[in-house]
């Protein structure tokens, strides 16, 4: 006898690979058929994937977007370790054993109308998922800033959406977000055409500096990316007194909260700390709790 599915159910699916596209910089876009995960995932969720028989443990991969109606889930990942390198060899038509969706989601509940989505490198997927969720919602005026030091896993193009107070020449966007009507700009140190030359946090700061206090009071930051980037985002948010949610990564074993293998130290009071599990207590945390 099984437990009845409920809101927090983690589904176990044999997910067929629908497409698996290699992009520059060893980045891959993977789409799988996983209707239960697709119907329940939220921005911030990940799937825990058995990437290949040769590896014992599953690998957590964050979800980039979903189609509940078509029953698919899409991931963007970079082949950085043994697990992701093996995942990259898997072909369309093959099955992936997948647990998901897992993890707490970004919450757009503070009443602030200007979500600033900051994604760096393989931290882009949850921000793209957040954009998918905010798309067409009149209550929000989001801005996405995406950064990469290897070529972007999509072909940047000049944006059709004008963003007041962007530095001159910063016009490149992610086409998908632009088509969704989500204003978006790109940053890189590599001097890519139309991109801001510098860190995502520098572009974010330039833009935030053009806002008055009343406008700033409408901003909330959402971020995912490498640890140093998140630390910089958290500092920027603290400086300008903006609420900020970050999505973290850590090595995982079970991925369902059973082993306490994936914890991060979290500030729970002026002097108190707790160890929270990235897999089920996160991956999304209040930046002030994890960067202190």
């Amino acid at each position: 006898m099984e437990n009845k599915p409920h809101r927090d159910t983690i589904f176990s699916e044999q997910a067929q690979i629908l497409s698996h596209q290699a992009c520059a910089g060893e980045q891959y876009i993977l789409r799988v058929a996983a209707p239960k995960c697709a119907a329940n995932a939220l921005p911030g969720s990940f799937a825990h994937i058995k990437v290949a028989p040769a590896l014992l443990l599953r690998r957590p991969i964050s979800i980039m977007r979903t189609s509940a109606t078509e029953g698919w889930v899409e991931f963007l990942y970079k082949a950085v370790g043994e697990g992701t390198r093996l995942l990259a060899t898997r072909q369309p038509g093959e099955m992936l054993d997948m647990l998901g969706p897992i993890g707490t989601a970004f919450k757009f509940e503070s009443g602030r109308s200007r979500p600033l989505l900051i994604g760096g490198g393989v931290g882009m997927p949850p921000m793209i998922f957040a954009a998918q969720q905010l798309r067409g919602n009149d209550l929000f005026k989001p801005l996405a800033i995406l950064g990469s030091e290897v070529p972007f896993p999509f072909r940047p193009r000049p944006s059709r959406i004008l963003i007041p107070a962007m530095p001159d020449g910063v016009i490149a966007c992610m086409p998908l977000l632009d088509d969704w009507g989500i204003p978006c700009r790109l940053a890189s140190q590599q001097g890519y055409a139309g991109c801001y030359q510098g860190f995502v946090t520098d572009l974010a700061r330039d833009w935030l500096n053009t806002l008055d206090r009343e406008q700033l009071n409408q901003v909330e930051i959402f971020a995912c990316g490498p640890h140093p980037m998140l630390a910089a985002v958290a500092m920027l948010a603290a400086e300008l007194d903006l609420p900020c949610q970050v999505s973290l990564e850590e090595y995982m074993a079970c991925g369902v909260g059973g082993c306490a293998g994936c914890v991060v130290p979290v500030k729970t009071g002026a002097t108190s700390q707790a160890m929270k599990r990235v897999c089920v207590d996160g991956p999304v945390f209040d930046a002030r709790q994890v960067f202190f």
Binding site: N3, T9, S12, L56, V256, G258
Partner: protein, 323 residues
């Protein structure tokens, strides 16, 4: 209702407790019995018993990250016994568990003999079915394996816990010691009713770029299929001491399939632990249980208990040694 009934071929008697099947979900791998129930298709009823996370007198934060890392055919962990303390476990967690689903076993740890005794006493006054004493945790500075590797100390811990409870007492033995059978003998004399064999082996992994150990605590416990041959031999050795006393063993270390479970039982285990395998296959109990049932059918055995310790050793070689 449980999937297996009392007279099911898979059911076992473990220190007077009825287990619906011989599988035990291992301490540290299934939190406090609630976490995995979120996984579609998983049920606590699929296991004969569930060992809760290692519990100490006071709450513990545990070790700094990274705490887990995959190694060839296994993994290292160094959690450092993160737990909310026995008070919270008994007062707030145990009342949420459904004791009709399976048997729940507490896993007790401490830095001193007194702490082991106090935690055991607290569990004695609770609905928990049995108590496992972890004197083999490789991830804490005091207590743990430091006690488990010293047969005199092991016996003192068991004696103290024995004073504190009449519930079945299971001693979890470390493979990181010279003579595990001799240690088991001391523990039986001190009042141990059963054994868990084995806990993790100590190991390390190194990042060659930073030249630092990957595990935050530098070293960790190795588990998973990589340790199975070591675990099987230890179960065989401890069984030689246990069989005369009718003392049961929970064999564990790298169990991944029905065949693995059967190997442990043939070597001398009454029950079989599943830990690391749950991380990659949370629904593995179904598969192992049905594989065992098929084996019993094929070999015309009425009960899995007939198989315990049925190992037939080869004749010792007469001529030269094989080195």
């Amino acid at each position: 209702m449980s999937a297996t009934t009392t007279d099911s071929p898979l059911a076992i008697d473990f220190c007077g407790l009825h287990f619906a099947n011989p599988l035990v979900l291992l301490s540290g791998c299934v939190g406090f019995g609630e976490e995995y129930t979120r996984v579609e298709g998983f049920s606590n009823r699929d296991a004969g018993a569930i060992c809760l996370k290692g519990t100490t007198l006071e709450p513990r934060l545990g070790n700094q990250p990274h705490r887990v890392y995959e190694t060839p055919d296994g993994m290292l962990n160094s959690i450092g016994l993160q737990n909310p303390g026995v008070g919270i476990v008994v007062d707030e967690i145990l009342p949420t568990l459904d004791f009709s689903e399976t048997r729940f076993i507490a896993n007790v740890s401490g830095s001193t003999v007194e702490e082991y005794e106090q935690v055991t006493r607290r569990f004695d006054n609770s609905p928990i079915d049995a108590i496992e004493i972890n004197i083999s945790c490789p991830n804490v500075k005091q207590g743990g394996v430091a006690f488990g590797n010293d047969p005199q100390m092991s016996a003192r811990v068991v004696e103290a816990c024995r004073r504190a409870t009449n519930k079945p007492l299971i001693t979890k033995l470390s493979p990181n010691q010279t003579d595990i059978a001799a240690n088991a003998k001391h523990c039986i004399e001190a009042g141990s009713d059963a054994f868990s064999v084995i806990n993790t082996l100590m190991g390390m992994a190194i990042d060659i770029e930073s030249r630092r150990p990957i595990i935050g605590n530098n070293q960790g416990g190795l588990s998973g299929p990589a340790i199975k041959p070591v675990a099987l031999l230890k179960v065989h050795q401890v069984y030689q001491v246990c069989k005369a006393h009718g003392i049961p063993i929970i064999g564990q270390g790298g169990v991944n399939s029905a065949e693995d479970a059967l190997e442990f039982i043939i070597a001398g285990a009454t029950a079989v632990g599943v830990g690391t395998a749950l991380f990659y296959d949370p629904l593995i109990c179904h598969k192992i249980n049905s594989g065992i049932a098929a084996y019993l059918g094929k070999h015309k055995l009425q009960s899995i208990m007939q198989l315990t310790g049925s190992l037939r050793l080869n004749e010792p070689p007469k001529a030269h040694c094989g080195c």
